[in-house]
Symmetry: C2
């Protein structure tokens, strides 16, 4: 990390502070230092940062993640827009460091309103503030959670034999087993799932099944699937939050557990899988943190709809367009995915995961999942 | 309860069974008995049930709840539609009793798919199955949770000094304090919050604050508001699930704690309040179970937007139409509500609860809430 030249940076750690990465905010101060030096030298301040346009993104099929290219853009105070942007950036850096000193965090939405006090530099929309935060993530190679900023999204729930230690917002550490110490609702992931917040202690599980619908999670839990097959159930809650994706990444890396994804059978649910496995363009700069390329899609596939004769609905116009877009989406570039998407387009059908109830409440846990998991080499 | 005349009903309780209401399913069997008797006597089977149309509903301003009137409709096997409806009803009764024997539950969606096996009697849409379940609730004066049926909805999260005992899906009882025994995500309400499932043990709290946005719940928790003011924080998660509404009702009735509702300031959020306090037309037949008429609306009010000079947005066409509809909605029939709705229409503005961050992250807990709660006589 570049060392501050003019003066010692304010401390961001002390005895009571959660064990955050000691250098979490250092890059923000280095940014400020750089601008200060430019002003001191009588130069018009400017910042260079990687462009996050489609042209500057590539999907690395081998690693299965997005990568930013080398194209840079410049933000300069030469024009009013650029000057306001720079001003805004450093109000934000100031706010972030102030939160760290006060041991606070903030939602993205609160930040948008906090900027009311920045007068001409205030944000005009939450999109604007979100974009700036992403810029800062790229510039400082940090996660917004390092900046103590988080969205409203609900993180996943987890049910199963996994013991974790969570350092709560008051700094108290609690040991929680996600089966024995929680109610039927399971353990709710907090918005920050980094190591200073959540430590994995132990698990007897053999794999993680990440599930789209709450009703299906309840079904597996009620049928004792997690116990019988030594699985951890994770409720994705639709398009997964970043905390959910980060959690799955950590589970794979640190606990070496395979992850399978079980969703409805339609193009939007396929994107849920892609989000878990490969990330999204929006967080392309964080793929190595948030993506779990080894995660496998279990179902519901177009083949399943045929083979299991599942109750289905017709594809809508939007569904068809989404599937066609997926045929050119590099995340679905494997032969298996192309075959499935083409089959779905050909049959014109989509189906929900809960449609397996056609064969009774136990069919999914007694037949469908064991068959699919055995095929996949998990069981 | 009417006693079965022909033969003893199957037992729905035994030593291992959760302490469900012993007579939970008795009315469904009585229904079946009645139809059997009609057939036995050579009559065309028929059922009479209260109509759930707008004309047969009235809002009892004194109790603050909806009540069903005396109008009845008849479902008769004289016509094919009626016959299929009756057949469907008893397939459903059979499925419910089978679940009770097998100690299972089912989501509304699974039920819809289960009906695939009922051939001509199968449901054509989930709306159809939901309506039939509501009919059964009215006919049997039971909750669908008694029938072991539940929706997908996420129940609320609860943070604060409240100790409960939850009997989990395996029948094991756990004591959980919603501050000391849970992570930052709080305690997640299960879908059934009846006494056989959740028992209130103790609390030191003085009131409950039911909050619309997760970010605001996090703000209050992070600022220690629950500890400082002896409050229980409840995250409504938008339009509250039935389990959330039932929970608030029980908290008021059994723990005698006042409930205040804190949402964004716009007509849709006003309806969130109304749903908690008075119920909705859809569940009019269950108002006395699900409504908490003593719950008070704290804000954000139209007056607050003015008095606190909050960052606001313009009302959209839909917002204006919603507010005008609320002027004739009996749930907003008090002088205070009329004044507030008319003020909002006059000013043309709506605001989010997190907009209080304009004055800094601590403003809501150090100024806004204490001021409002003191005005309301809670603090």
């Amino acid at each position: 990390m570049p060392r501050s030249r003019a003066r010692a940076p304010p401390k961001t750690t002390d005895e009571d502070e959660p064990r955050v990465r000691a250098d979490a905010l250092q890059p923000t101060l280095a940014l400020a230092e750089a601008i200060y030096d430019q002003l001191d030298a009588g130069e018009i301040p400017r910042m260079r940062l990687p462009l996050r346009t489609k042209q500057n993104l590539s999907f690395q099929a081998r690693d299965g993640v997005w990568k930013l290219g080398r194209q840079l853009g410049t933000r300069s105070a030469r024009k009013l827009d650029g000057a306001l942007m720079l001003l805004r950036t450093f109000y934000l850096v100031d706010f972030i460091n102030e939160m760290a000193r006060d041991k606070k965090t903030s939602t993205l939405r609160e930040l948008y309103y906090i900027s009311e006090a920045w007068e001409e530099a205030k944000f005009h929309s939450e999109d604007e503030s979100n974009l700036l935060i992403e810029d800062l993530e790229v510039l400082c190679t940090r996660l917004r959670e390092d900046f103590r900023l988080h969205p409203e999204e609900n993180g996943a729930s987890v049910i199963g034999d996994l013991t974790i230690r969570e350092r709560n917002r008051k700094g108290i550490v609690k040991t929680i087993n996600c089966r024995d110490d929680v109610g039927d609702g399971g353990y709710s992931l907090p918005f920050n799932v980094e190591k200073e917040k959540i430590e994995f202690v132990s698990t007897k599980a053999k794999f993680v099944i990440a599930i789209e619908c709450g009703g299906m999670v309840d079904r597996l839990a009620e049928n004792g699937f997690d116990e019988e097959h030594e699985a951890i159930l994770l409720h994705l809650k639709g398009q997964p939050a970043r905390s959910t994706r980060r959690f799955l990444r950590r589970v794979t890396e640190e606990l070496k557990l395979p992850v399978v994804v079980f969703t409805d059978g339609d193009p939007w649910s396929f994107r849920i899988y892609a989000s878990v496995a490969y990330g999204a363009i929006k967080t392309a700069h964080l793929s190595s943190y948030l993506a779990t390329p080894s995660a496998e899609f279990l179902g519901v596939t177009a083949s399943d709809i045929e083979n299991y004769n599942l109750p289905s609905d017709h594809l809508s116009e939007q569904d068809i367009r989404a599937l066609q877009a997926e045929l050119t989406d590099p995340r679905f570039g494997t032969p298996d995915w192309r075959a499935e998407i083409e089959l779905m387009l050909k049959n014109g059908k989509k189906a929900e995961q809960q449609s397996l109830a056609k064969y009774g409440l136990n069919y999914v846990t007694e037949h469908y999942l064991p068959e699919k998991l055995t095929e996949m080499g998990i069981l």
